[in-house]
Point group: C2
Chain length 376, copies 2
């Protein structure tokens, strides 16, 4: 169930009710690829503002296997996370395998990068896997085309994705009785490459089938920022108003602000966590590279405006030292800070929509970040 609490322009402040709890939107979901958000415990995730996680069907089905997780009571219990979990369908990762996979009308066959085994993923098996995991939000299996691609190829792929979406819905419905998490939602995924007409056609096909929410897939795949924004600009106004909208795999803080301004409700991205492990820190006024020698003697926190555990307790000098010594604690503390940064941004955007100040805040944030391409 999705309720819109307030609006400002296209931006929406909502509440998504899922079996494992309510989620305030717009929301950012950290990536818990292998059943853990890397380098952070669930209690610290809660402390830094995480409401909902993403789990990866592709990774978890290979290790430890979705049947193992089902036997152990589902992904929530397995990883000790009581909040909602959204699982992707595995499509994106499989299509990233390039020549290692082969697509047919029925399914996609690929070689496991773990042990070389031949694995088949179909809309039906993706639903079964996600239901074994006990996901709160299940995603349909879609084909993600590479970029750039010809229009006929984008059209063929998008049409296949619609047929797979219909099969996903049928399989999802038939599997509900055996699901670890019977109240789960199912989201469709809009494809169509960078072609506005194909995107609208994809959306129409999905709405006809009918889903609990609609995602925008196939962005952040190598297109320019302008191409991405153009697709969103054309697509979002056509999306069903009273269903949650999820922009998959995106993105920078600037992308989040722009997405919310166009009416996106949900995001996920490895950016805050992966960057943390590489020593790149999100701060109010841009990216801070903790490896930089200028932090060697600095007793400042990473970000003086930040209330996270890391900024309340540690200096840049200490974090620089941990990075130089390759100490795990460095990755742990920077991960917590970067996630706190993302969650705090979303919290500020939500509050601004409620108070009718979102437009001003968005303008101010985007202006202050425009020099920093990594934020944009």
């Amino acid at each position: 169930m999705f309720a819109i609490i307030s609006e400002e322009g296209m931006a929406r402040r909502g509440e998504l009710t899922l079996p494992h709890g309510k989620v305030q939107t717009p929301v950012f979901q950290p990536c818990g690829t292998y059943g853990t958000v890397k380098a952070i415990t669930p209690d610290r995730l809660v402390a830094c503002g995480t409401q909902m996680l993403l789990g990866n069907t592709f990774h978890l089905s290979l290790r430890p296997g979705d049947e193992v997780i089902r036997q152990l009571g589902g992904l929530h219990k397995f990883m000790n996370w009581d909040g909602p979990i959204l699982t992707d369908s595995g499509g994106f990762q499989i299509f990233s395998l390039g020549d290692l996979r082969k697509i047919s009308e029925t399914s996609v066959v690929f070689k496991s990068p773990i042990n070389g085994d031949q694995v088949t993923l179909s809309p039906e098996s993706s639903m079964r896997i996600q239901q074994n995991l006990g996901s709160d939000v299940v995603m349909v299996l879609d084909e993600c085309t590479s970029h750039p691609v010809t229009k006929p190829e984008a059209a063929r792929s998008m049409e296949l994705s619609i047929r797979w979406a219909a099969r996903s819905k049928a399989a999802f419905a038939s599997g509900l009785a055996n699901s670890v998490n019977p109240g789960a939602s199912l989201f469709g995924i809009v494809q169509g490459g960078m072609h506005d007409d194909l995107r609208l056609q994809s959306l129409e096909g999905l709405v006809e089938i009918g889903f609990d929410g609609y995602a925008i897939g196939g962005l952040s795949v190598g297109e320019t920022k302008e191409e991405m924004l153009s697709v969103m600009h054309n697509l979002l106004p056509a999306m069903p108003k009273f269903a949650p909208r999820y922009l998959m795999g995106v993105g920078t803080p600037g992308d989040l602000v722009r997405g919310v301004s166009m009416g996106v409700d949900m995001f996920d991205c490895v950016m805050p966590t992966r960057n943390a492990r590489n020593g790149y820190v999100f701060c109010r006024d841009g990216i801070l590279k903790i490896r930089n020698a200028k932090h060697r003697l600095s007793d400042l926190p990473l970000d003086e405006s930040c209330s996270c555990y890391t900024c309340q307790n540690y200096s840049r000098a200490y974090l620089h030292h941990l990075d130089r010594c390759k100490e795990m604690l460095g990755a742990m503390l920077l991960t917590e800070h970067n996630l706190h940064f993302y969650h705090r941004l979303m919290s500020e955007l939500r509050e601004a929509i409620e108070h009718g100040t979102f437009g001003a805040l968005a303008t101010e944030l985007l202006k202050s970040w425009e020099e920093d391409y990594e934020f944009n």
Copy 2:
């Protein structure tokens, strides 16, 4: 200040008062080599029962440098640890460098393993470094001879260590005014290899100089368990009763029980933390190897008798999965469990001494572990 609260045989239950707080003894100190106990935050250290940490003079003087730490307010503030810190003198690490170091009456000169620079460590510079760090317990610089070694060589080395201990004390006293932590204690270190007479001579020399506590160095260097226990058996009864006794770099859970039974008050070792990162888990009934395939489907906690965060929230199957995927969270959760195991053991030993049941508990524990050489 050290107060003995109760005794049972040679075992003592005491309280050590240091500038950063009181420590209940016997105590185990986790190793915070580079200003972090690897893979765990200070608040989790407290949660799993840590009272006091060890910091490494050798490592910290090279990275980030003790002057850097002094400028940033000392090691406690730098690493966000408010409890007591003991620092070793750097001797043990330097003597482990083998051919890379050269010892004279004045000092030891070695090549930095970080950047190849020539570095000199003397009793005077070791005191300055430890005082820059702001240690609660400063250790004298000693020479650690390798094992095995001839008796004349062990005697020569032990005598040098006594002269260095006297210089350490003089330098420590003269540096107090400039120390980050003016109320710090200074401990002497008994050497003498595996020779009982040399050990007693070393102790006598140190007691004559006078220290706040006395450590046993040069054990756990490759000798047999019997040799180690024999040295302790002969030495400990001769040690000053009303000063804390610290067995350096030791050891297994069995070593801790035996040490306490002979009157040791303080221990440190990398065992719980390093083993955790390698997937070796301390449990009541022995070592559990989390990598073992038999844990793949086990929904048991690591140790059913354990109340640590890891055992309260995670299955062996999950920890096995994290280990297989080389996820940092695995090292984090096993580190917390292993430290909790060590601290809980010490807490049980303390309680048993107070209740006069230590002898029985020690016998029971050692008997139950006698099959497991890694515990002994």
